[in-house]
């Protein structure tokens, strides 16, 4: 399986990157192909909601930055693994800015999924989505449930499947189990 890891732990001192080294090594040993990007060192503009990608240059974002590298890689991957510690209950803003930039991969037209409006596919297939994260001191069960909900909705919008959340305090094997990376 091709796994694209998009990672962000800005200002990190808690060893998140090292934890991800261990996990990606584990996945490689299991036979998966890993491509890993650290969003903190990429040139990524945020989405400005200009809709250039929907009606001026269909499918293409107006920003010519490192997302141009990521878009084809996302389409080629089987699993898009976002990796970032929780801050205020959600992964880093860098992860969110990157997720906002995914809309050129969709078509503006609306289709009904389970009776609900969503933008239709532009491409034939999209990778599954999973999240690796680290809890905060006061993270409770309810926070994790909300986190799952929001990622399920992200996946639903991208005609994808949310595989689950792995936490840094789990073993590599447990994370694989939680995110279905057998």
């Amino acid at each position: 399986m091709n796994v694209l890891v998009l990672e962000a732990s800005p200002g990190e001192v808690g060893g998140f990157k090292e934890r991800m080294d261990s996990l990606t090594d584990h996945l490689t040993v299991k036979g998966h192909t890993i491509l890993r990007y650290d969003l903190t060192s990429l040139d990524l503009h945020y989405c400005t909601g200009c809709f250039t990608c929907w009606w001026k240059t269909p499918g293409r974002c107006m920003y010519k930055d490192d997302m141009e590298v990521l878009y084809p890689e996302i389409l080629k991957s089987d699993l898009l693994l976002f990796a970032s510690p929780l801050v205020m209950g959600l992964p880093s803003y860098l992860i969110k800015e990157c997720q906002d930039r995914l809309i050129p991969l969709l078509h503006p037209y609306i289709t009904l999924i389970n009776g609900e409006c969503h933008h239709r596919k532009r491409y034939d297939r999209y990778p599954d989505i999973a999240l690796i994260t680290r809890k905060e001191k006061d993270t409770e069960k309810e926070d994790i449930e909300l986190l799952r909900h929001l990622h399920r909705r992200l996946a639903l919008n991208f005609h994808s499947t949310f595989r689950g959340v792995g936490f840094t305090d789990m073993t590599n094997e447990e994370i694989c189990h939680e995110t279905c990376c057998a």
Partner: protein
């Protein structure tokens, strides 16, 4: 009462969010007269320093933003991260989430997250607007737009008078929460005859890109990183 609207739309001063929040502030200011202060700041324009100062100095904070991938736009998350170590105790915080999808349900997940965060940080939640169908105001008749603005005007008045969002106005703004079976049938019919996507087709044709609308530019491309990593 000192109130600030923090506008989290990347479109900033040209945003649909601003249209709604201008009406809100108008209602608030008219009710308050000279005894309360209110202003609107823009997360995608104003400096971190100014935003931190506004968070600290105001007792009532309205965080308003468009729905991005059923969540907050990236910069709204950035803002929340910047507010992490500030004192939230005693702050009264209202949420306004607006989306282009006709049903309001899409906005409910991030609203729940923010309500939980407000509670976690020890502040008081004064209500959440969860509103669908807002991108459509770009092409709606003035009369419809006026009705929506009137809702926000009254919401602003209510915040001055009671300190909270009026539950009846919130209930009205939430409609439709989901598409009813009848609305779904209408949507499918409109899709078949090409009416459902009128807004997109209108803009695609205006830009002369209608024939390219199904392009898949990123399928076979390869680029190298612009950054040094």
């Amino acid at each position: 009462m000192k109130l600030v609207v923090l506008n989290g739309s990347p479109r900033g001063t040209g945003s649909n969010t601003k249209i709604l929040m201008d009406a809100f502030l108008e209602g608030f200011t008219m009710a308050a007269g000279a005894v309360a202060e209110a202003q609107q700041l823009f997360l995608y324009r104003d400096s971190d320093d100014l935003l931190i100062k506004s968070f600290t100095e105001n007792d009532t904070i309205i965080l308003a933003f468009p729905l991005y991938t059923d969540s907050v736009p990236g910069k709204v998350k950035y803002f929340l991260e910047q507010m992490k170590d500030l004192d939230w105790l005693g702050k009264r915080i209202g949420i306004v989430v607006q989306s282009g999808f006709p049903e309001a349900r899409h906005t409910s997940f991030i609203a729940r997250y923010l309500e939980r965060l407000i509670q976690r940080m020890g502040a008081e939640h004064i209500g959440s607007v969860t509103k669908g169908g807002v991108e459509g105001i770009q092409i709606q008749p003035e009369k419809w737009k006026a009705r929506l603005k009137d809702c926000f005007h009254r919401l602003g008045e209510g915040v001055y008078r009671t300190g909270t969002f009026d539950p009846d106005i919130l209930a009205a703004l939430r409609k439709p929460w989901e598409l009813s079976p009848a609305l779904r049938r209408m949507y499918r019919l409109m899709s078949r005859v090409g009416l459902a996507d009128f807004y997109w087709n209108y803009n695609l044709k205006k830009n002369g890109t209608f024939e390219q609308r199904f392009d898949k530019p990123y399928e076979r491309e390869h680029h190298s990183l612009k950054s040094s990593s």
